[in-house]
């Protein structure tokens, strides 16, 4: 087990290189080639050996009689960024909310099929969704800090888990990891609602990582933000992927291409059309529908 994550990390290191190569850099040409080669060679074994944290098997979700997800099966690898793209209403958010069972909160939602987290089906009757959500954090589309102080926001998760030792230290660590510490360190007892939108969203990320989850789910985290705040969030996501498994839903295809290692494309009807390495999906998708969607002919 100790070997495999290392190898996965190696793969992650390679991929951003390939992506940054898209920027105008004269020496980048050979890198792209070699990295694609590396991908080509290493991909199949890494797919086989990369530890998958989340695995969906024939997942169907219905809201009353409307089917929102149709027979979705996919494996989400550990410590990488997995992006989900697709048109509105295609079920990508629904899938995300299946992972930490947030759909339980909607009375009308019904889930069939299996979804494994660390090898355990989260829809087994003996799984406590509360305990599950403590390992799978979530960041929402609109920044939703509580109307409390910045400190209390970050400490919220720790307090509800009775994890009160060294609270100050943990809050500071979380804010630093969310790249917010420098901006707020002298105003921790100010209301979180006084922050700007981008700061609020980073605060929400700090709040999610303060409890040190294994997985962070992000539901269009930058869609309500301006380009500068968005780029900060994107940088942050790439950093977070070193320690956490990040699953992100986004409408923005460039964003998915920039930050993700794997991409899943959902299309209308809750169907997972294609899932694979981001580069493959964006440059050479198997499905014609995916190509149409990505090139903007559809959706």
């Amino acid at each position: 087990m100790t070997d495999e994550p290392t190898r996965t990390d190696g793969g992650t290191d390679q991929q951003p290189t390939a992506e940054t190569a898209a920027s105008p850099d004269p020496s980048s040409e050979p890198l792209v080639d070699s990295s694609i080669d590396v991908e080509g060679r290493d991909d199949t074994p890494s797919m086989a050996t990369a530890r998958s944290v989340i695995e969906a098997k024939h997942l169907d979700v219905y809201y009353d009689d409307v089917q929102a997800l149709d027979d979705v099966s996919m494996e989400i690898p550990a410590k990488q960024v997995t992006a989900m793209i697709g048109p509105s209403g295609c079920g990508k958010s629904t899938f995300l909310r299946c992972i930490n069972r947030m759909n339980d909160l909607i009375d009308a939602a019904r889930v069939e099929g299996e979804l494994f987290f660390e090898g355990k089906n989260v829809y087994d009757p003996d799984v406590d969704p509360v305990a599950l959500r403590r390992q799978i954090g979530m960041v929402f589309q609109h920044p939703n800090p509580f109307p409390k102080s910045i400190y209390d926001n970050v400490a919220y998760g720790l307090r509800i888990q009775d994890d009160d030792d060294n609270l100050d230290e943990k809050v500071e660590t979380a804010l630093k990891r969310a790249a917010l510490w420098d901006e707020v360190s002298d105003q921790l007892d100010k209301s979180a609602l006084d922050l700007s939108g981008g700061q609020q969203q980073r605060l929400c990320i700090a709040r999610a990582i303060a409890v040190d989850p294994d997985v962070i789910l992000m539901d269009e985290p930058a869609s309500a933000l301006d380009p500068i705040a968005t780029s900060k969030i994107e940088d942050l996501i790439e950093e977070l992927a070193e320690d956490y498994t990040v699953v992100i839903v986004t409408h923005n295809m460039q964003q998915a291409a920039r930050i993700s290692d794997k991409t899943a494309v959902f299309l209308t009807g809750g169907e997972l059309v294609e899932f694979g390495d981001t580069e493959t999906i964006f440059e050479n998708p198997e499905s014609q529908r995916v190509e149409d969607y990505i090139t903007g002919k559809f959706g």
């Binding site: 947030m102 959500r133 954090g137 929402f140 939703n144 409390k148 919220y156 998760g157």
Partner: protein, 566 residues
């Protein structure tokens, strides 16, 4: 108001018409609001004029007080308003704190006179303090023993306050065993510390006990704050010592100014420490110190006016609403009639109503909004319940009186006409209103905050407790205030459960025969003598309104505090 914004420069016929319509609508709204306000104001002025009878005084009396009190006070107010806003704030607080303190002291005095004696209060306070001390000491000595700690937390207060087993439990248990033919089984019990204290044959005088049970803790608390703020234990002790000396002086001074030593001690304990604490803060900040002049000017104005009026021989007004009215029971002669038993009864009923309806109402609202399922058979049932709560809010109050009569008096056998039955009848009436307003407030909390909390792995209760309730609390309190305002004025349910028209003695407990202000006012309105209908009635109405305003004011202060915190 909005007209200039709409003016896009393309003014056509339609936009002109709609603008006129908007202006007309605005004017009509303004007129309606002003009309309603003026009507209510005129009515209140008439009632107040009846209650205070300002015209019964000599014009000279009015002139003297106008010159000594009204002119300086108004002048200062205008000065603060125009030139020195922080001083205005200080003036407002330094006048308000003693008033609130005196009201609390008055309430406490009524509690001591009517509900529990000073000795009982002393014993209760001592027992509570000792048990709290035991719990704290145990926590210090053995911080790890959680289970043992739980035992101590349960046992210490029980032994100290109630005895083991509590006397009431013994009575009920022995009654049961006697019924079963076993005779009284429980003969021995550990007597509580409270009872032991009350059994001591020689106890200090009431005023000394009061000094120990009330003055020392209150002054000590403020002394602690003061000591912390000034970083000097000596200053805190000075506040404590000063207050105690001043309060103890009541033993001599109280009777001299015509009030009992107890009243003096209560008044000083609840006014001096908070006032000293506040004034110290103002002086230290050196902001708005000019405001400290205001209460001095007001007091000097009153004293000067009193001296002048006496010297010049002007007749003071003879109001229906005076101290005598507040402190005496009703009577056959209008001049002696008072509202005291009804006032005490109404306040006690308010306490019962708050204790009974607030937790139940808010709990029901939390269940309906946060826990109840919205789909399936249960969901349909919940919808039915919600609709019916809405209907219940509109059921006439007489019907609630009938329900209370059947439920509490016929079925549970509570004493007819007692404070608790009246309070529960009115409580039933306002329960739906409390539930609905709490539901509205809870519904107004954005769902995204709940999602965020659940997403962090919070349980439903943690989410409700830490996220939903703090945000909903101002709204819940507003709704409850409105409901309580309705409760204090309700008469019909009280008639149904047999509350006496007039009671000569204030209730000494919640199961005693009680009177209520609206009931008392109603019975005055049927008196033959015109003085009852024109004078005493008006005084009663003003008292009722004053209590209502006081209650609402308190609730608004609490609500604002919640709003600031969240």
């Amino acid at each position: 108001m909005a007209a200039p914004e709409q003016d896009t420069g393309f003014g056509t016929g339609t936009s002109g018409v709609s603008r006129i319509r908007g202006t007309a609508f605005e004017a009509v709204c303004l007129a309606a609001t002003s009309f309603a306000l003026v009507t209510v104001l005129v009515l209140l002025l008439f009632v107040a004029a009846d209650a205070f009878r300002p015209l019964s005084a000599d014009p000279g009396w009015h002139l003297v007080y106008f010159l000594t009190l009204v002119v300086p006070v108004l002048g200062l107010a205008v000065y603060y308003y125009r030139l020195d806003a922080p001083a205005g704030e200080v003036a407002y607080s330094t006048t308000g704190i003693p008033v609130v303190g005196l009201l609390v002291a008055g309430g406490m005095l009524v509690v001591i006179v009517e509900l529990i004696s000073v000795i009982e209060l002393f014993a209760l306070t001592l027992a509570t303090a000792v048990s709290a001390g035991v719990i704290v000491a145990h926590g210090r000595v053995r911080p790890q023993a959680a289970l043992e700690r739980l035992g101590v937390i349960v046992l210490a207060p029980t032994v100290a306050v109630f005895g083991l087993p509590p006397a009431e439990f013994n009575t009920v248990f022995n009654w049961l065993t006697t019924q079963l033919g076993l005779g009284p089984v429980l003969q021995t019990r550990i007597t509580s510390l409270r009872e032991l204290v009350m059994m001591v044959p020689v106890l200090p005088a009431d005023w000394l006990l009061l000094l120990i049970t009330l003055t020392v803790p209150v002054a000590g608390l403020f002394g602690l704050f003061m000591g912390r703020r000034r970083d000097s234990r000596r200053d805190g002790l000075a506040l404590l010592g000063g207050t105690v000396v001043l309060a103890a002086a009541g033993f001599v001074l109280g009777p001299l100014v015509g009030i009992g030593a107890e009243a003096w001690i209560l008044a000083t304990s609840f006014t001096v420490p908070p006032l000293a604490f506040y004034v110290e803060g103002v002086v230290r900040r050196e902001e708005g110190t000019a405001g400290l002049v205001f209460p001095v000017v007001a007091v000097v104005g009153v004293l000067l006016g009193a001296v002048l009026v006496r010297q010049l021989g002007f007749a003071a007004p003879d109001p229906w609403l005076d101290v005598g009215f507040l402190l005496s029971p009703t009577s056959r002669t209008p001049a002696d009639a008072g509202i005291y038993p009804a006032l005490v009864g109404s306040v006690m009923m308010m306490v019962v109503i708050i204790v009974a309806t607030f937790p139940v109402g808010v709990g029901a609202a939390i269940y309906l909004e946060e826990y109840a399922p919205s789909t399936g058979l249960v969901g349909k049932f919940v919808t039915l319940i919600e609709i019916n709560i809405g209907n219940l809010a509109g059921v006439p109050s007489v019907v609630y009186g009938l329900l209370a009569l059947a439920l509490f008096i016929r079925f549970i056998n509570m004493p007819t006409g007692s404070v608790i039955v009246g309070a529960l009848a009115v409580g039933l009436l306002i329960l739906p209103i409390v539930i609905i307003s709490a539901q509205e407030a809870i519904r107004a909390v954005p769902d995204s905050h709940r999602q965020a909390s659940y997403g962090m792995g919070a349980t439903k209760w943690q989410t409700t407790r830490n996220v939903v309730l703090p945000q909903a609390m101002p709204g819940i309190l507003t709704g409850t205030i409105l409901a309580l305002g309705r409760a204090i004025g309700e008469t019909a349910p009280l008639l149904m459960v047999g509350l006496a028209a007039s009671v000569r003695l204030a209730p000494n407990g919640f199961f005693d025969l009680g009177a209520a202000m609206p009931r008392q006012i109603f019975s005055w309105s049927t008196e033959l003598e015109p003085a009852f209908r024109h004078g005493v009635l008006a005084a009663g109405v003003v008292t009722l309104l004053a209590v209502l305003l006081l209650m609402n004011g308190t609730a608004i202060v609490i609500r604002n505090k919640y709003q600031r915190d969240s």
